[in-house]
């Protein structure tokens, strides 16, 4: 069995010298049996195998009494390498002294190839992972840059809007002062239009500023005032627009209960709704506005006649910069309805649009209960 075993077998003395070997080893290595006898086992190994033998194999064998599946390379007589797996076991006498070491060697060419492929696949996977990480970092940086740029633009809009306010206020008071002095009817009409335009411009700037603030994380903040009546505030908005545009605006107010809301914000909401009706409604039909408190709810609605809003446009009505399929002459920034709906949300209310061939109506509703208290309740 020893001589003809299908694996290489060696018997070593306590110092690692080969005492006996079998046919498989001489056949695999090409060494004559008499050349092998008397060699140290490690002399059959490659250089790295010899170092491994001394730094790992021998210590393992000594520590555990045996060592299994050690991967080594035999060097054949012709200098070529043969990958093998080695099992070894120590034999000791009754006194615990090492007598001999038995070694079994198995060919491992295929296994080594498989292992090399595994290692190659592993290193390729590592490399790909590295590339992916680099690409991710680049993408993150790019995203960050885009975010910064977007933020810069919004900051720019906020500053610009703010800076436009003062010269606009000067223009408006200038127009007012002049209106008292001029006597020609034509000049009066022009100055009236000029003032109305500044009112509209001021409302647009407010919308832009609110939008930029919202994007910058400030959101719409409320300054609640329940003790002051709301009606005079609304009337002033209507008067200004009516006066400036010369259009007919019918009003129906029934505000019988105090409303805890931000008056300037509600005025802005109404101004935006009226502005929208004036821009898009039929010029020959009046705009009608109602404001009432009923059953614990404040509702304000603005209606106009003219071409109805298409169902597809209806879906995006309250999105910022939405301008529908309207004529270029009527284009605005598309912020009015968006800001109005944001103001409604800030008041825990809703803004709803209905549109048919007879009229287009926007209705704002909010609860009359104290917003602050509700917020406190969560």
């Amino acid at each position: 069995m020893f001589e003809n075993a299908p694996c290489a077998l060696l018997s070593l003395d306590a110092r690692g010298y080969i005492v006996r070997t079998n046919r498989a080893l001489t056949a695999w290595t090409g060494y004559a049996p008499e050349t092998i006898a008397g060699k140290r086992f490690l002399e059959l190994l490659s250089v790295s195998g010899r170092i491994f033998h001394e730094t790992h194999f021998v210590p393992l064998l000594r520590m555990h009494g045996s060592a299994d599946e050690i991967a080594l390379d035999l060097v054949r007589a012709d200098g070529t390498h043969l990958p093998v797996l080695v099992n070894a076991v120590e034999e000791r006498d009754g006194a615990g002294e090492l007598c001999s070491i038995r070694v079994a060697i198995f060919k491992a060419t295929e296994r080594r190839r498989y292992e090399r492929e595994l290692v190659a696949a592993q290193s390729e996977a590592r490399m790909l992972q590295g590339q992916l990480e680099i690409a991710n970092v680049a993408l993150e940086r790019k995203l960050g840059e885009e975010r910064d740029l977007g933020r810069l633009r919004e900051e720019f809009i906020a500053v610009l809007g703010h800076d436009l306010r003062n010269p606009l206020a000067s223009t408006r008071s200038g127009a007012r002062l002049l209106a008292r002095e001029v006597s020609s009817e034509r000049a009066t009409v022009i100055l009236t239009h000029m003032e109305a335009s500044t009112v509209r411009m001021s409302a647009l700037i407010d919308n832009v500023l609110d939008f930029a603030r919202g994007r910058l994380g400030g959101g719409i903040t409320l300054d609640l005032a329940a003790s002051q009546p709301l009606e005079p505030v609304l009337r002033q908005v209507v008067d200004e627009l009516r006066y400036g545009t010369g259009r007919e605006i019918l009003t129906d107010f029934a505000l019988t209960e105090p409303v805890a809301c931000d008056h300037q914000r509600i005025a802005q909401l109404v101004s935006n709704l009226l502005g929208n009706a004036l821009t898009h409604g039929a010029e020959d039909q009046p705009i009608s506005m109602t404001a009432r408190t009923d059953s614990g709810v404040l509702s304000i609605s603005v209606a106009n006649g003219g071409t109805p809003i298409s169902p597809s446009a209806m879906e995006h009505l309250f999105q910022p910069f939405f301008r529908g399929g309207i004529q270029p002459s009527k284009q605005g920034l598309g912020l009015g309805l968006h800001i109005a709906s944001e103001i409604a949300k800030a008041h825990r209310g809703t803004l709803v649009a209905q549109s048919s061939s007879s009229e287009t109506r926007f209705t704002f509703s909010m609860p009359l209960t104290d917003i602050g208290a509700e917020e406190h309740d969560g």
Partner: protein, 248 residues
């Protein structure tokens, strides 16, 4: 008495030697960072790219323990690590025991280290190319050793197990080192233990170290291979005994 293990395994290499000195000395054993059961998170590739990083650790251990005029016992590559530490901090060790030392493994003009540059290249390539054979697949099935019942299983569990990348870096630091110029700077009393038929540190390398360190003693052990601390521990102890007793 501080024991330092070499490339490949861990402090268990001293299992049969260190106990012999326990009654006369306070013995200290440790695993180099990256070996045995050391804290792998402490491994810094840049620091351990050369033996100096390991020597710095040795000095740190000595300082932490407050060692003065201690005995350093190093095996294989740790001999040069100990030499570097002894030069850096001469007060730490008054005696060095170098088991199978080599200041340079690669042959040079007028020097025979035992390996050609191509041999070491082959070694490093084989580590890189087939590290499964060197470490992962190399981890043996843990089994009881009836011949050595005193070896607790948990103690030998990590024996010869190394992270492949670290094994490769340690091999590079070891086998490409050249510390010949450091040897004459050693002032501690030095004992060199040399084996017969050591392919890693051949006899003429041991003789070179003996000549380079003034006043050193060289003892040739009747043992083969590179690990007399495992294969011939009694001889190692016997050779060390008169040397260290001389001190007391």
């Amino acid at each position: 008495m501080l024991f330092a293990h070499g490339f490949g395994c861990d402090q268990n290499m001293w299992r049969f030697v260190a106990p012999a000195f326990q009654s006369d000395f306070r013995t200290v054993l440790f695993d180099h960072v990256g070996s045995g059961r050391s804290d792998l998170s402490a491994y810094e590739p840049a620091k351990y790219a050369s033996l100096r990083g390991y020597a710095d650790d040795l000095v740190e251990i000595g300082r932490e323990l407050g060692l003065r005029d201690a005995v350093f016992v190093g095996h294989s590559v740790s001999c040069m690590i100990g030499v570097l530490a002894a030069i850096k901090a001469p007060d730490l060790f008054s005696q060095l025991v170098l088991v199978c030392p080599s200041p340079r493994y690669i042959d040079d003009v007028g020097y025979r280290g035992g390996f050609t540059a191509a041999d070491i290249d082959e070694l490093l390539v084989s580590l890189a190319d087939n590290y499964m054979g060197w470490s992962a697949a190399m981890a043996p099935a843990i089994m009881g050793n009836p011949e050595h019942p005193e070896l607790g299983q948990e103690l030998t569990e990590s024996f010869c197990r190394t992270d492949p990348e670290i094994a490769r870096a340690f091999a590079r630091a070891t086998f490409t080192s050249d510390n010949r110029a450091d040897l004459p700077k050693v002032s501690a009393r030095t004992l060199i233990l040399q084996c017969l038929d050591d392919v890693i540190a051949p006899q003429e390398v041991g003789e070179y170290v003996h000549r380079a360190i003034a006043g050193s003693e060289l003892v040739i052990l009747d043992a083969t291979g590179h690990c007399p601390n495992l294969s011939a521990p009694r001889q190692v102890v016997a050779a060390m005994r008169p040397f260290v007793d001389n001190l007391a």
